[in-house]
């Protein structure tokens, strides 16, 4: 933990906080956006990928001769080529599997790439795929998370010898004492399903290789570069400056799943190198639903040691995450990313954790929808309700009983998380008021008398934004960490420049996938420099040659609102300082006396002693000799900002895994039809503390989107496999994504508790409700079905599943 936490004072703003219309919308709505598929390069060829139809099999041989002779085919890349031309991807576990961008001698999930055909167009490439014959020797499959750990289970990777990729034990506080002091121990087992985020735009890569300069140029729609530019460089056996990644202005959604794009970046790059062509690959929907990326599925055993009055003294839990046929970076983050906020918004001081990360014959994972927090909070929030039920306590009251108090912030959790600011009581109370809680309980009493199944559910969760990459090293023990190199940080880079006429251009690298970052950046700069948002333009996509970035760069874990805004403010203030110094020099005044407002720099108290911003800008560029001695010419400033709260873990495995912590309270009222198992949402309140609100219109969109995602995960979405390892949800016919028809009216509320750790007081908001809603709907349905003795510990709660649970309970009772 830093000696002195760096804090900011916040002041009133003109533009930040206003619902300014998005700058991005004009080009998107008129079809002038530039997405990956809009990129046309000369002599571009097209790739199609042959994928394994088997979940687990040896590849005895591949015959591509007929396909190679098919007219229009330019070349074919197989696993044999990939093994010669690349190295396995590095991953942060002690004994890593050999994960290449293509199957070499074995396939380990349905959809795993086996070969790539490069042809004049996609039709030809697909036809050529049909002519490739692969001789597979099928092997027994392992699909169940717990069965994967048994010694009898088929082993996916012989070099590991078991299906356990990572395992660690953690102890915080004194759980033994907590058990001794407890009046009751409540136990639960929870199963969180595997599902993705299905962005409208699928993965896309256009790669070319220059054999003379031995470098790659790769267009892609990745959310990073994050750590993966470095990892792909290692895999391709090249230094990082020999691989240029370029992202187009627009990406059609990501939600974390596009951080799993990088193996395909390597694959298409190798296809380009082998064939000597520029190769374009656009993933089709079926490929995406088979072999892109999902969050992990997880089995959790949780025990709570509690007192009769509802105080939760400690938690013990064992969580087993499934990363599929291989494990790839940033996994095993699934087990460690939420370390700092593991105990949620509660004053729980004792915690024993066992984490396991295993493999089965399912497709691979990436951070998706709040990386690990959906899984964590489903268990934790269901547990809170189970404890309340055992104690005969109201589910709202038990939360108030255990919440962190407002005077305890900044609050350090037993696991090392530093919660910046919050008022959990206020946020939760607003949600309760919005659904008229007392009245709902009365209505529930009446409904139960009539035999109707009405339920009320809550979830109150902490939203951990801005990853501190230190968390990945928790996969190693303190002793192992001491021998290696520590990792830490959350940095983001911003360049701000002013042209000779006083207009501003900002260059950042957040690769927005629809969040509206450019609009917010314009608002911030307008406030700082006294210009109008229309005077500000933004370039905000990665070019690893031309832009400033580091291994933490990208859009993930809602880091824009906290770390990027602070970097923008800092860079803008550096520019403002320079402008004021120039003006002071030219006006022969003191810098401290100067102020900027609406395009003018003037002496406070003597407004006629002033000059136009554009004269300052003009001087900086056109009359460089007139600048103060020793000052750089022009008007450019940069900031690569990392939050000081991003420190490596200590020797007790404590780490501040995030840097700002927002809070959500969901309150949902449901009615379940006992005949059909269908769930109807009667009321839904969703209240958010995202700190200072940057743009209320954008925030509204983010909340609605995350609510829709949360609803999908609760009732509809599942990336399902049958017992033979076949993926049975490879189209939207079976993988159910909520539409406008499924999303009910949501009463959204906001409470602004600014973070002292960010320049504007904002925290993240993008992932919010997708983490809290599955737990809330689970709780609501559990409450509705409580009179029948139904236990809810899994998702999605489809009508089919609910109906069977009701029948099962009827038989028992």
């Amino acid at each position: 933990m830093p000696e002195q936490l760096k804090t900011f004072e916040h002041k009133k703003r003109n533009w930040v906080g206003k619902p300014l219309k998005r700058k991005e919308d004009l080009r998107l709505l008129t079809g002038r956006g530039t997405f990956m598929d809009d990129i046309r390069l000369p002599d571009m060829k097209h790739a199609a990928i042959l994928r394994s139809p088997y979940p687990h099999a040896w590849i005895k041989g591949i015959n591509v001769s007929e396909a190679l002779n098919f007219p229009g085919v330019r070349g074919i890349l197989t696993g044999e080529d990939v093994a010669k031309m690349s190295n396995p991807f590095p991953v942060g576990v002690p004994v890593p599997p050999k994960y290449y961008c293509c199957a070499i001698d074995k396939v380990r999930f349905v959809g795993e790439p086996v070969a790539v055909v490069v042809a004049d167009d996609r039709y030809v490439a697909e036809d050529a795929l049909d002519l490739i014959t692969v001789d597979y020797e099928p092997l027994p499959v392992v699909m169940d998370i717990e069965e994967a750990m048994s010694p009898e289970a088929p082993v996916l990777h012989d070099n590991i010898g078991s299906n356990i990729y990572s395992q660690r034990f953690f102890q915080y506080g004194d759980m033994e004492k907590a058990y001794k002091e407890a009046d009751l121990v409540v136990k639960g087992k929870f199963h969180f399903p595997k599902y993705g985020s299905t962005p409208i735009e699928t993965y896309a890569v256009i790669a070319s290789y220059n054999p003379f300069s031995e470098d790659f140029v790769i267009y892609n729609n990745y959310q990073g570069p994050f750590v993966n530019h470095s990892l792909v460089a290692i895999a391709l056996g090249i230094p990082e400056n020999k691989m240029r990644w370029i992202v187009p202005t627009d990406i059609g959604g990501g939600f974390g799943t596009k951080t799993g794009l990088y193996p395909y970046i390597a694959l298409i790059a190798l296809a380009a190198k082998k064939t000597g062509m520029t190769v374009k690959w656009i993933e089709d929907r079926r490929e995406h639903l088979l072999a892109s990326a999902t969050a992990t599925d997880r089995v959790t055993y949780m025990e709570a040691a509690v007192k009769k009055d509802g105080t939760i003294l400690g938690l013990k839990d064992k969580a087993i995450d499934n990363t599929g046929g291989y494990i790839r970076a940033p996994e095993p983050g699934c087990a460690y990313r939420s370390t700092g906020n593991h105990t949620g918004g509660y004053q729980i001081r004792n915690l024993d954790r066992e984490v396991l990360v295993v493999g089965t014959n399912k497709c691979l994972t990436a951070p998706s929808r709040g990386y690990t927090c959906q899984e964590l909070y489903f268990s934790l929030e269901r547990m809170i309700d189970l404890v309340a039920s055992e104690l005969g306590m109201d589910t709202a009251a038990i939360r108030f009983k255990n919440f962190i108090q407002t005077d305890q912030f900044p609050y350090t959790t037993p696991t090392g998380g530093i919660y910046d600011a919050g008022d959990y009581q206020k946020v939760f109370q607003m949600a309760l008021d919005k659904i008229d809680y007392k009245k709902m309980r009365e209505e529930q009493r009446n409904a139960r008398e009539e035999g109707r199944l009405m339920g009320i559910g809550f979830s109150t969760v902490v939203d951990p934004s801005v990853t501190n990459i230190a968390y990945v090293t928790l996969a190693l023990t303190p002793e192992q960490r001491a021998k290696g190199h520590p990792k830490s940080g959350s940095g983001e880079a911003v360049i701000i420049k002013m042209d000779p006429l006083g207009k501003v251009h900002v260059i950042a690298c957040t690769n927005p996938q629809g969040q509206g970052h450019d609009t917010v950046i314009s608002q911030i700069v307008a406030d700082e420099l006294g210009v109008h948002p229309d005077d500000v333009t933004v370039s905000n996509v990665v070019d690893t040659h031309d832009r400033l970035f580091s291994i933490t760069t990208g859009s993930y874990s809602s880091r824009f609102a906290s770390v990027v805004t602070t970097a923008v403010v800092t860079a803008a203030r550096r520019l403002k300082d320079k402008m004021l110094k120039i003006a002071a020099h030219l006006l022969e005044a003191n810098v401290e006396e100067l102020e900027i407002q609406e395009g003018k720099i003037y002496v406070k108290g003597s407004p006629d002693k002033s000059m136009q911003v554009r004269h300052v800008a003009g001087t900086a560029h056109w009359n460089q000799a007139a600048l103060p001695e020793g000052m750089d010419a022009g008007l450019y400033e940069t900031c690569l900002y990392t939050m000081p709260t991003s420190q490596p873990p200590d020797e007790l495995d404590r780490v501040n895994s995030s840097n700002t912590y927002g809070f959500m309270a969901e309150a949902i009222v449901v009615e379940v039809d006992p005949e059909t198992g269908e769930v109807k949402i009667l009321k839904w309140a969703s209240v958010h503390d995202a700190g200072t609100i940057l743009n209320p219109a954008l925030l509204e969109g983010q909340v609605m989107g995350s609510c829709a995602h949360g609803l999908g995960g609760s009732l509809y979405e599942e990336w399902a496999y049958d017992e033979n390892g076949q993926c049975i949800t490879a189209s939207f016919q079976d993988y159910l994504v909520p539409t406008a028809m499924e999303v009910p009216k949501i009463d959204i509320g906001h409470v602004e508790i600014p973070s002292p750790f960010t320049a504007l007081g904002s925290k993240g908001a993008g992932e919010s409700s997708c983490m809290s809603v599955p737990a809330c709907i689970g709780n609501a349905i559990a409450d509705a079905l409580a009179p029948l003795g139904v236990i809810i510990n899994e998702l999605p709660l489809s009508p089919n599943k609910i109906w069977h649970l009701i029948q099962k309970a009827k038989k028992k009772g």
Binding site: P53, C727, T729
Partner: protein, 145 residues
């Protein structure tokens, strides 16, 4: 997945057994069958062109008649693969006489993989039943001729 069904033929059990054992009849009756060649007695190579769940494709495969107990029952093993995926299955075919009719009933297990599994999983049971129905209808036609 499990598949089962039955069909009634107006003929004696021995007659129906012979009908089912004749490769020429099978070749005509199996939906989409373009070629059927006997490699060894009871073992056949087949080429099928069929649409499953609106996915048309060509499948090359093997069919094997095992444990024949004339004229009462035999087991059928089959597997085929093509660009749309692969199919693997086995079934027990039973014959029984009911007055002037012979009931042919089948009970089996089918596995599909690849494209057809991902897209048409929920339809496969129904499609299998439909194809079985087509097969039996065509066999019945050949009975008449």
């Amino acid at each position: 997945m499990k598949i089962e069904g039955k069909y009634k033929f107006l003929a004696s059990q021995e007659h129906i057994w012979d009908l089912f054992m004749d490769q020429k009849n099978l070749e005509k009756a199996i939906p989409g069958c373009e070629k059927m060649e006997e490699r060894e007695p009871g073992k056949y190579d087949v080429l099928l062109k069929i649409g499953i769940a609106a996915i048309k494709g060509t499948y090359t495969g093997k069919v094997e008649v095992v444990d024949p107990e004339p004229p009462n029952r035999y087991r059928l093993l089959g597997e085929g693969s093509g660009s749309p995926g692969f199919v693997k299955g086995e079934a027990t075919i039973e014959f029984s006489q009911e007055g002037q009719h012979t009931i042919v009933s089948y009970q089996g297990d089918m596995q599909v993989g690849g494209l057809i599994a991902g897209i048409g999983q929920r339809m496969i049971g129904g499609i299998a039943k439909m194809m079985a129905g087509q097969f039996f209808k065509k066999m019945a036609k050949q009975l008449k001729s």
